[in-house]
C-alpha cells in the first residue's frame, strides 16, 4: 500500500498541533493559522479530516466538535518517513543522491584493509 504523505497545508496544520500539543478542535487550529494567513474555517476542518483519514491524526469527541491529536510526535513522524524512503525504495542507492550508500560487510572489510595499507 502506498504511503500517504502530507501536502504543504497539511504540514502547516500538523505544525500547529505539534507546537501546541494536546487535543485541539478545528476552531482552535483555525485561530492559530488565521494569525499567519487567510484561511477558511471549513478548509481547516477538511484538512484535519483528511489527516485523520490518513491515520496521521486521532480524534475524540469534545462537546459538539471533534478534537484532534497527532498519532506520532514530529520526531517520530520524520524518522518513520525517512525510514520508509530508505527501505521501501526498490533500489535506493540508484535513486538517491546520498552521501554514500551502505556497503556490504565484505566490501567494508576490504575497504578497511585497503586503507590500512596506505
Amino acid at each position: 500500500m502506498p504511503r500517504k504523505g502530507v501536502g504543504p497545508l497539511e504540514a502547516e496544520v500538523l505544525d500547529v498541533l505539534w507546537d501546541l500539543s494536546g487535543w485541539l478542535t478545528p476552531g482552535e487550529v483555525h485561530d492559530v493559522l488565521a494569525l499567519r494567513r487567510d484561511l477558511a474555517y471549513t478548509t481547516v476542518m477538511t484538512v484535519l479530516t483528511n489527516l485523520w483519514e490518513k491515520e496521521i491524526l486521532e480524534r475524540r469527541r469534545d462537546g459538539r466538535a471533534y478534537a484532534y491529536h497527532p498519532v506520532q510526535t514530529r520526531e517520530e513522524r520524520t524518522a518513520s518517513t525517512m525510514s520508509a524512503a530508505l527501505t521501501s525504495v526498490e533500489n535506493r542507492p540508484v535513486v538517491l543522491t546520498e552521501f554514500v550508500g551502505q556497503l556490504s560487510a565484505e566490501d567494508r572489510a576490504q575497504l578497511r584493509r585497503m586503507l590500512s595499507k596506505q
Binding site: 504543504p8 520524520t78 524512503a85 521501501s88 535513486v95 552521501f99 551502505q102 566490501d107 575497504l111
Partner: protein
C-alpha cells in the same frame, strides 16, 4: 539511412560506457554533462528511428497508402523486413517513452516520500547551514529537491562525524541541490531502463552516477588540502562505519574507492583540451545522428512535395 541512424543511436547509448576510463580523467562535472548529453541524444534518436521504421506499416494499416509509400521510399532499401520489422518497431516506439517515464518515476519515488521530511522536519543549523536532522540509527545524508531543497542528515551521522567532516557532508549534499543532480539521476534511471539490453550502456549509467557523486565531492572538498582530507575521511567513515548491511552501494566498493582515490589527490583541473578529445567520439556520433535526421527530413520533404501523379 535509417539503419545508419539506428546504429548511431545505439552507439550514443553505449559510448559513455566504452569511454569511461578516459572520462575518469576529466573533471566530473564535464564528464557527467557529456554522458547526459549522449544519453539524451541516444533516446531522442532511437525514438525517431523506431517511428521512421514503423511509419510505412502503420500508415498502410491506417489506409494512408500514399503517405505509407512515401515513407517507405524515404526509409530506403536498407530498412529490412516490411511488416515483420514495422510492427515491432511501432511497439518499440510506444514502449520507449513508457520506459523513460518508468525510469523517471522510479528515481522520483524516494524523493516523493522524502518531500514530507522536508515539510515537517524540524530545521536546525548544522555547520552553518539549514538542515533537517532525523532520528535514525543509520549514518545517512540525503538531499531532497522538494520545497526549495533541503539537506536531511541522520542523528547517527551527526554523532559519528566530527564537525569538519559533517560540514563536508552537508556541503556535498548542498552541491547536489545547487546543480540539480536529481535531474541527472532521473536521466540515468531512464537510460538504464531503456538501454538495459545494450552491452556497455549499464557501465555508462554507473559512470554517470559516480560522476555525479564525485562532482558533489569536489564541490564540497574544494582545493584546500585539509578540507579535501576532511571530506575523504567523512566518506571513509560513513562507508566503513555503515551500520546497516542491507544493500550494496551503486557500483559497490569500486565507486567508493574511486571517490576516495580522487579526494586523495589534488582538485581536478578544468578539463580543457582533454575534454575535446574524450568527448570527440560522442560529438561525432551526435553530429552524425543530427545529419542523418536532417537528411531524412529533407528527403521526406522532397518526396511529399513531388507532383501527385509521380509514381512513388
Amino acid at each position: 539511412m535509417i539503419v545508419v541512424l539506428a546504429a548511431i543511436s545505439l552507439m550514443l547509448a553505449a559510448m559513455p560506457g566504452a569511454l569511461r576510463p578516459m572520462g575518469r580523467r576529466l573533471h566530473p562535472a564535464d564528464w557527467a554533462r557529456g554522458v547526459a548529453t549522449s544519453f539524451v541524444a541516444a533516446l531522442v534518436m532511437w525514438e525517431l528511428t523506431l517511428l521512421l521504421i514503423a511509419a510505412p506499416v502503420v500508415l498502410r494499416a491506417a489506409g494512408a497508402h500514399g503517405l505509407a509509400a512515401a515513407c517507405a521510399r524515404m526509409a530506403g532499401r536498407l530498412v529490412p523486413g516490411g511488416r515483420w520489422v514495422g510492427w515491432p518497431a511501432a511497439a518499440g516506439a510506444v514502449i520507449l517513452p513508457w520506459m523513460v517515464v518508468t525510469g523517471v518515476r522510479r528515481a522520483r519515488s524516494a524523493q516523493r516520500i522524502l518531500a514530507e521530511v522536508a515539510l515537517i522536519g524540524r530545521r536546525t543549523t548544522l555547520a552553518g547551514r539549514d538542515v533537517v536532522v532525523v532520528d535514525d540509527e543509520r549514518p545517512v545524508a540525503v538531499s531532497v529537491d522538494a520545497h526549495g531543497g533541503v539537506v536531511v542528515v541522520s542523528r547517527a551521522l551527526v554523532e559519528q562525524l566530527d564537525p569538519d567532516q559533517l560540514a563536508a557532508v552537508v556541503r556535498h549534499e548542498l552541491a547536489h541541490l545547487e546543480h540539480r543532480h536529481h535531474l541527472l539521476l532521473q536521466l540515468a534511471a531512464a537510460a538504464e531502463v531503456s538501454f538495459g539490453f545494450l552491452p556497455g550502456a549499464r557501465s555508462g549509467v554507473d559512470g554517470l552516477r559516480c560522476a555525479i557523486e564525485r562532482w558533489a565531492d569536489e564541490d564540497a572538498a574544494g582545493s584546500h588540502e585539509c578540507v579535501r582530507r576532511s571530506t575523504r575521511r567523512a566518506l571513509v567513515e560513513v562507508a566503513v562505519g555503515g551500520l546497516a548491511v542491507d544493500a550494496a552501494a551503486f557500483g559497490g566498493l569500486a565507486t567508493v574507492v574511486e571517490r576516495v582515490a580522487a579526494l586523495d589527490g589534488p582538485a581536478p583541473a578544468p578539463s580543457g583540451f582533454r575534454r575535446l578529445y574524450t568527448m570527440a567520439p560522442i560529438a561525432l556520433f551526435g553530429l552524425g545522428a543530427m545529419f542523418s535526421a536532417v537528411l531524412i527530413v529533407a528527403r521526406m520533404w522532397f518526396i511529399l512535395s513531388m507532383p501527385v501523379h509521380c509514381p512513388i
